[in-house]
């Protein structure tokens, strides 16, 4: 289920609120609206989600979200995904670079690219204080929870991790403006979960980040304490409750114990030996190999 509130200015029409909660608009619909908001440069847009019912996975996303569309480019923006902030108009209009998406419908590759770039950057921004799974702040923000139909398990971790790594390597120069697609994609994702393995691996990747710009401060989280950014969760959702042991009891793919790989000196925790990589173009392959072996 889906609730959103847009602040838009169109054709002389001034629509303050557009509520579309509880409609199975799906990934394509959500993206269409999100990109339409981006397309309209005059839009001061905000978007709140609530009760995003998974269309394919029966997951429920109960947290409320707001997307802010910032001018973004590859390197200089943390994603505009904030949570549970009501009725504060963003200060800047978007610079759309995806104006054709609405007309043609977003290709899956684009969706994935946007999503994973967003997820990736978000992890970089949010995981600096260390992994605290299952009380993951990102998990809290998205409201993603495990359920009987959506267990967190090794298969989902592996598949999501592999796909994520693959897309990131292929689309390493793509935009990191994935906030708008993040939730939309997640609700339709067959996996529908942020995997623990990805979480841990990304944390490690953030230290040796092939995508990290020279000015790496741009990727750092804001100075403001995260607790100040995240209002309390909806009452009906106990985000702090540990997930079922049957779900989380499975061994970690990237466990806390080092898992040295015998052939090339890599470590499952630290990734490939970056010092051995001389040319930038080799990084992708190196990471892909790392992911493959990790999984």
């Amino acid at each position: 289920m889906f609730e959103s509130r847009f602040f838009v200015f169109i054709r002389g029409v001034h629509i303050d609120e557009l509520m579309i909660s509880g409609n199975p608009i799906g990934q394509r619909g959500a993206l269409a609206i999100a990109h339409a908001l981006q397309k309209n440069k005059r839009v001061a847009s905000s978007l709140q989600y609530r009760n995003i019912g998974a269309l394919s996975s029966n997951m429920t996303m109960r947290a409320r979200h707001k997307f802010e569309f910032f001018p973004v480019n590859q390197h200089d923006s943390h994603l505009g995904l904030t949570s549970n902030i009501d009725d504060e108009a963003p200060t800047s209009a978007p610079e759309s670079n995806q104006s054709n998406i609405l007309d043609k419908g977003p290709p899956l590759e684009k969706v994935e690219e946007i999503f994973y770039r967003g997820l990736y950057a978000r992890f970089l921004a949010e995981c600096s204080e260390g992994c605290s799974w299952p009380s993951c702040r990102l998990l809290k923000r998205t409201g993603l929870v495990a359920s009987e139909n959506n267990p967190i398990n090794e298969d989902s971790c592996a598949a999501l991790s592999q796909r994520m790594a693959s897309v990131l390597q292929i689309n390493r120069t793509a935009t990191n403006n994935g906030a708008d697609a993040f939730i939309a994609f997640m609700q339709d994702s067959p996996l529908g979960i942020i995997a623990r393995a990805v979480h841990r691996a990304i944390k490690k990747m953030s230290k040796q980040d092939p995508f990290r710009p020279a000015d790496s401060d741009a990727w750092l989280p804001p100075d403001e304490p995260l607790s100040a950014q995240v209002p309390s969760a909806p009452e009906e959702l106990d985000l702090d409750a540990p997930l079922a042991e049957s779900v989380h009891g499975a061994p970690l793919i990237a466990s806390s114990a080092p898992q040295a790989l015998p052939s090339n000196g890599e470590n499952a925790l630290t990734g490939p030996d970056m010092s051995a990589i001389k040319r930038e173009g080799e990084m992708g392959n190196a990471w892909a190999g790392f992911w493959g072996r990790l999984l």
Partner: protein, 147 residues
């Protein structure tokens, strides 16, 4: 006597900013709506009655129309679209949540709003819980992206 779940608020221009609710009893005519700024109806029959009557009462000072949880037929959607497309429509807030409007109805309503162009006063549009799929969302995206 069955009290219809239609509530009227701020009857008359003079009382337009003073919210109070009253019921329209069965048998009362929607002509009584003339002068109303705010209407709420949450039952299908009442919504249909209102929708069938409103276009004939244009211009209306009606600013808020809440038909939530009413099952609006295609005809009702068409009537509402007709109302919205008129450049004299004063409706600012339209609540159609839970009205089973669906994609086709949404498309009609969006077209009507766009047809009114900069004359429309619509500011709030609630179409939650209407079984809108991606097609309906794309219609809404047209509304959002139109310049």
């Amino acid at each position: 006597m069955h009290v219809l779940a239609m509530a009227l608020a701020s009857r008359g221009v003079e009382a337009s900013h003073h919210l109070h609710w009253c019921g329209l009893r069965h048998g009362e005519e929607p002509n009584d709506l003339v002068g109303c700024r705010q209407i709420s109806a949450h039952e299908t029959d009442e919504a249909k009655r209102i929708l069938s009557t409103l276009p004939g009462l244009i211009p209306l000072p009606l600013e808020q129309l809440d038909l939530s949880s009413s099952k609006i037929s295609k005809a009702g959607v068409a009537q509402l679209a007709s109302l919205l497309s008129t450049r004299t429509s004063q409706i600012k807030d339209l609540d159609l949540s839970g009205c089973d409007v669906r994609d086709g109805g949404i498309a009609n309503l969006v077209d009507a709003i766009l047809a009114a162009g900069n004359k429309t006063k619509l500011e709030g549009f609630d179409v939650s819980n209407n079984g809108i799929t991606s097609e309906g969302a794309i219609s809404l995206a047209k509304l959002v992206s139109a310049e």
